[in-house]
Amino acid sequence: MSTPGGTPTRSPVATLARVTLRRLVRGRGLWVGALIALTPVLYGYVRRMSAGASEPRDLMLSTTPLLVLIPALFVASSIGEELESKTSTYLWSRPIERWQILAGKLCALVPLVIGLVVAGWLVGNLVGAGAAPSAISCVALAAGCVVIALIAAGIALLAPRQGMALTISYLLVDTFIGAWPFSLAELSVTHQVRVLAGLTDDPPAIVTPLVGMLIIAAIWGAVGFRRISRLEV
């Protein structure tokens, strides 16, 4: 981007991403998230001490809560707090497109969420199973993080005050539905993550769970971006 005079400007998305990260690093949220990300590591360690090496499928049980909590903690609370505390007025009054506000937040937070969840999974496997997890399981978790971040953003924009609680509730229901042995499980992001990672009884698949996640991401992404373009603060 550049000004009319030709001076290169920083994209509003990049500026917002930088500010979001800076605020996060200087607050408590990042450290709380890092502690939550230790859950699979602790689980793997305890299992290994008590019952020997764990199976990746067992370790995935302790990683699923990360998929629920970390996006809710970072994405839903970041957006919800911005709207609730009215600091959003600073953004809404600037000459930027409203979608760029959401894009800036997601650009900062999604990589962080992926990093924490995948790191927790990776170290949890090294500690609990004594071996690195498969690459596809890491990809599955990363894809799951993207989808759940979009869900969290959509919910937080619809209900800022209850955004984090509603995101956690939604994902608990998602986890519950994902455990059903019916086709309804296809609606569950956490189920699709496990299928893509090859950690269910179903035959391994790549296209079907990816398409499923893509549809869910598209729906919640549309909800979020449409909502922010109409939101008044």
Partner: protein, 314 residues
């Protein structure tokens, strides 16, 4: 506050509801330039009107344009607007310089240019000494100055300052008033809201009085002052011999009512300036020691009720 041709703001039958709650109702108004004071008690609709001008809210009915465009949907219009919100909340984790620089970048300035503009804006509001401190630790006055810096950093043509003097000490208030006047003198169009008349009087002569979402009066502050002065004005005189003061003033035509309170007398007058003079003269003649003089009407609430007729109905 003239005709619409070339006006900065044009509002035509503009209304805003929050569900069933009325924000502003049927406001028709245009603003050509200069500094305009938006005066009204808390909850009158001042912030709603300012937010609509700033592109944060859309009118529920009617139309509002700024520089001929819709500030809600047109980023190009918002580029020419600087907005300082009423609330204190900001990105407290950042330093003042980081916050103002981020706002400059979000307003389209290149990074190097944004840094320089932020330093200049911070300097302009007298915050240079604290620019590397995090906003979290700022006093209310420092926050008001920082908000002003975020509003002016991209050199907008039109400034919207929502209660910029609330909560600041008298010295800071005088300083902020002076800085706003300088911005006005530099050719900016400025709308400043307040619920305190003397704050607005110190800034401008052009005011818009808003009450319960409606424009109650518009024009020169002296006209409004005349309306206010017609309304019986209460003056509380705390002194050692209130009856001596009351005896002198009882025969005066401008005095509507006298009542005694513990340690003082309350005078209701239609001519406050004359009344203050006579109280001072009576104190001198009768050797009365006055410990305090105050006006319970300074918050304007009674005056707004008087202007709308609410006071008369009670």
């Amino acid at each position: 506050m003239t005709g619409d041709a070339g006006a900065v703001v044009v509002a035509e039958r503009c209304s805003k509801w929050y569900g069933h709650v009325l924000g502003v109702s049927d406001v028709t108004w245009s603003l050509a330039g200069g500094i305009v004071g938006l005066l009204g008690p808390n909850g009158a609709g001042k912030s709603t009107l300012i937010k609509m001008m700033g592109g944060l809210l859309r009118p529920s009915r009617g139309a509002l344009t700024v520089f001929g465009g819709d500030p809600f949907s047109d980023a190009g219009v918002r580029r020419r607007i600087g907005y300082a919100p009423e609330h204190e909340a900001t990105w407290d984790e950042l330093t003042a310089l980081e916050l103002v620089t981020a706002m400059a970048q979000l307003s389209g300035l290149a990074p190097a240019q944004a840094g320089r503009a932020a330093q200049a804006a911070i300097d302009q509001v007298g915050m240079t000494g604290a620019m590397h401190r995090r906003v979290r630790g700022f006093s209310k006055g420092m926050r008001q100055r920082t908000k002003l810096a975020t509003a002016i950093v991209h050199d907008p043509d039109f400034l919207l300052l929502d209660e910029p003097l609330t909560g600041v000490d008298p010295a800071a208030r005088a300083d902020i008033i002076e800085r706003i006047k300088q911005l006005g003198a530099a050719g900016k169009t400025i709308v400043v809201s307040s619920h305190v008349l003397y704050e607005i009087e110190a800034l401008t002569q052009d005011i818009l009085v808003i009450y319960r979402g409606q424009v109650l009066a518009e024009g020169n502050v002296f006209e409004i002052r005349r309306l206010i002065d017609r309304h019986p004005h209460r003056i509380r005189v705390e002194c050692d011999r209130p009856h001596a003061i009351a005896q002198v003033l009882a025969a005066e035509a401008h005095v509507a009512r006298l009542s005694f309170e513990r340690g003082g007398v309350v005078i209701e007058t239609r001519d406050p300036d004359r009344c203050y003079d006579q109280v001072a003269a009576a104190a001198l003649v009768h050797d009365v020691t006055i410990s305090a003089l105050s006006s319970p009407d300074n918050n304007l609430g009674a005056v707004f009720e008087y202007l709308t007729g609410d006071g008369a109905r009670r």
